[in-house]
Amino acid sequence: MRRIVRSEGYARARLVTGSIFMLLGAVVIVRMAGSAGLQWSAAPGYVLGVAMILLGGFRFYEYRTARRGA
């Protein structure tokens, strides 16, 4: 398990899932904006979209930090 987690392939797989989360986040925000605009009931959807984008962004940040460390 540790060998897998430390491998370059694993790091790239995390980038792929990070990208999926960013894509999903963008889709949720755009669709919520299209349907509900600035209604208060859309707030949980917007927060979800932002959190997804942040998670994806954090994975890219971690990847860059690890590459610099190596």
Binding site: G34, Q39, A42, G45, V47, L48, L54
Partner: protein, 548 residues
């Protein structure tokens, strides 16, 4: 000086916990504890908060983000086993440290039972002979065996159980990501979500009930800080793993609740008991499905749902099993740490000479968990106890009772942790904090520059309101929760009096030497040097000496 030398020698001779938890191990310890909560919490929250379930998860989730940031800062600054109770002990003194630790111990022992129980419930979807309603004795026996097995696994060593967590956490994250991907891309309809929120908005009482249940879905992040003493380079590793974990768990909880309210089901929803059509959120939150809401929701996802319906019960069961395992790990580590600071008898700090794990603590708290299992299972095992429980507990069953206490314990200990964080920012500005909660107000306190954490105040207000909601909406929790604290406090006072230790006050702690030793033991030598330099600089500032 000879005293410190002999103490150092004694410390070297004493077996200690092994540092074998890697970054991924640290993440998976936390994930295995928090990640499974949504499997239990989703259906319960939908049943209580109806069309506002996503708002309940959002409120509890934002509080959880504050809790997570607080734990991240504290665990990176003070990487010792014990987590919340150690931070409260250090920030607020012995008696408050005990209360916080005792509340967390309640949570962890309940965690062991509740998740082992739910694990068998999920499995029973594939193996009907394990069904609780049809075969209560079989169900009880298997849950009992699971708890005993986990106790053994933890006694033989953290490395084995950590590897177990790591593999399952990885599989579950991949699975949940796939469910969200297919759900949001192919079946999520924002207009259905908005309509459900507007047409099925709950009463304020039900919303409070929903929020207090939603916090159950976020309990367990402290596992990362429990494992801090066994984590390699904790000050660097813990912030990375915690932030990832906070975001992952928040996303899963918000995603499932939004999907439950705004999903266009791939398969038709069966009518209710009266033959009427029902909405998806209602179907997921009813008594038949609320125990396995994630599985039912996953089965309604387009394309992927047919596959998910087959494996989600297995994956859910495995994740719930490792969450139960985290309860064993967490309770034993807290007791170990509390014993070191003389909040609990020295028996709990005994480390197994061969496996170097706190074997006594593991066995004792698993025994507590088994007692709770008996309490939860009795009404289903015997009609006499069913009647007795109905009379004494106003019809609430054992598992509901455990759920109430779970929320109570978490809200109590988190409230103290926020206050401790503020106190430590003021009283221990010298300890290097590789990670700090954002949004701070700098000012001078006793001649030294400190930073007041705004987010900690917001987090405290949030978690304290959840504690109030729990007390207002859970009939048994508001009696049993404080009773647990009071009984523990009485035992603590008796123990401290017998040992000749300060009963209401605190022992004298040499926090400075301890902190330097903690950082040295953690392998954080640069931080140790920084800490020593900060202490010297603070002393100079306070005494008015000029800088060299």
């Amino acid at each position: 000086m000879p005293d410190s030398v002999s103490a150092k020698k004694a410390a070297e001779e004493q077996p200690s916990l092994r540092r074998s938890v890697t970054p991924w191990g640290s993440f998976s310890w936390g994930y295995s504890d928090v990640g499974a909560d949504i499997f239990v919490g989703l259906g319960l929250v939908l049943g209580a908060a109806a069309g506002a379930s996503n708002v309940a998860f959002l409120f509890a989730g934002l509080v959880y983000v504050c809790v997570g940031l607080a734990y991240t800062e504290l665990a990176a600054a003070y990487p010792v086993a014990g987590g919340g109770q150690y931070f409260v002990l250090r920030g607020l003194g012995d008696i408050f440290g005990f209360i916080a630790g005792w509340a967390v111990l309640l949570d962890f022992t309940i965690d062991i039972v509740l998740f082992a129980w739910s694990c068998i419930d999920y499995l029973s979807k594939l193996l009907p002979f394990l069904a609780f309603t049809a075969h209560p004795w079989t169900h009880f026996g298997v849950v009992f065996a699971v708890i005993a097995g986990l106790a053994w696994l933890n006694v033989i060593g953290v490395r084995e159980s950590s590897a177990f967590n790591e593999i399952v956490s990885g599989l579950d994250i991949a699975s949940e990501t796939a469910i969200l991907f297919f759900g949001f891309l192919f079946a999520f309809r924002p207009e259905i979500l908005i309509h459900t929120m507007q047409s099925a908005w709950p009463t304020p009482f039900n919303l409070m009930n929903g929020v207090s249940l939603a916090i159950i879905s976020f309990v367990g992040l402290e596992s990362i800080s429990q494992a801090a003493q066994e984590t390699q380079r904790p000050a660097s590793v813990i912030p990375r793993t915690s932030i990832s974990l906070i975001l992952t768990i928040l996303i899963f909880a918000l995603s499932y609740s939004n999907l439950a309210l705004g999903l266009q089901p791939w398969t038709p929803i069966p009518p209710d008991a009266h033959g009427h059509a029902q909405a998806l959120w209602h179907y997921l939150g009813n008594e038949d499905n609320n125990g396995a809401a994630v599985q039912v929701l996953a089965s309604m996802i387009p394309y992927y749902g047919a596959l998910a319906a087959l494996y989600v019960p297995v994956l859910g069961a495995i994740l719930l099993l490792i969450s139960s395992n985290s309860g064993v790990f967490g309770s034993s580590r807290i007791a170990y740490a509390m014993s070191h600071t003389q909040l609990l008898p020295s028996l709990f700090k005994k480390v197994h000479p061969k496996f170097r794990t706190p074997a006594v603590s593991i066995v004792v708290f698993c025994s507590f968990a088994i007692l709770e299992l008996f309490f939860a299972a009795l009404p289903s095992l015997s009609p006499f106890f069913k009647e007795t429980y109905a009379r004494l507990f106003r019809g609430e069953d054992g598992i509901t009772f455990l759920g109430d206490l779970y929320a109570f314990g978490a809200a109590t200990s988190y409230s103290f942790v926020f206050i401790a964080l503020i106190a430590l920012r003021l009283n221990d500005p010298e300890s290097p904090r590789k990670f700090k909660m954002p949004f701070n107000i700098p000012f001078k306190y006793r001649g030294v520059r400190v930073e007041f954490p705004i987010v900690a105040v917001i987090g405290f207000a949030g978690i304290f309101s959840i504690l109030i909601f729990t007390m207002l909406t859970h009939l048994i929790g508001r009696i049993a929760g404080p009773s647990w604290i009071i009984l523990g406090l009485i035992a603590y006072l008796v123990y401290r009096k017998r040992k000749g230790l300060p009963v209401f006050g605190s022992q004298k702690h040499d926090w400075r030497s301890q902190q330097a030793q903690i950082l040295k033991n953690a392998g954080e030598l640069e931080l140790m040097d920084e800490y020593i330099a900060n202490v010297k600089a603070s002393d100079r500032l306070r005494s008015g000496e000029p800088a060299p």
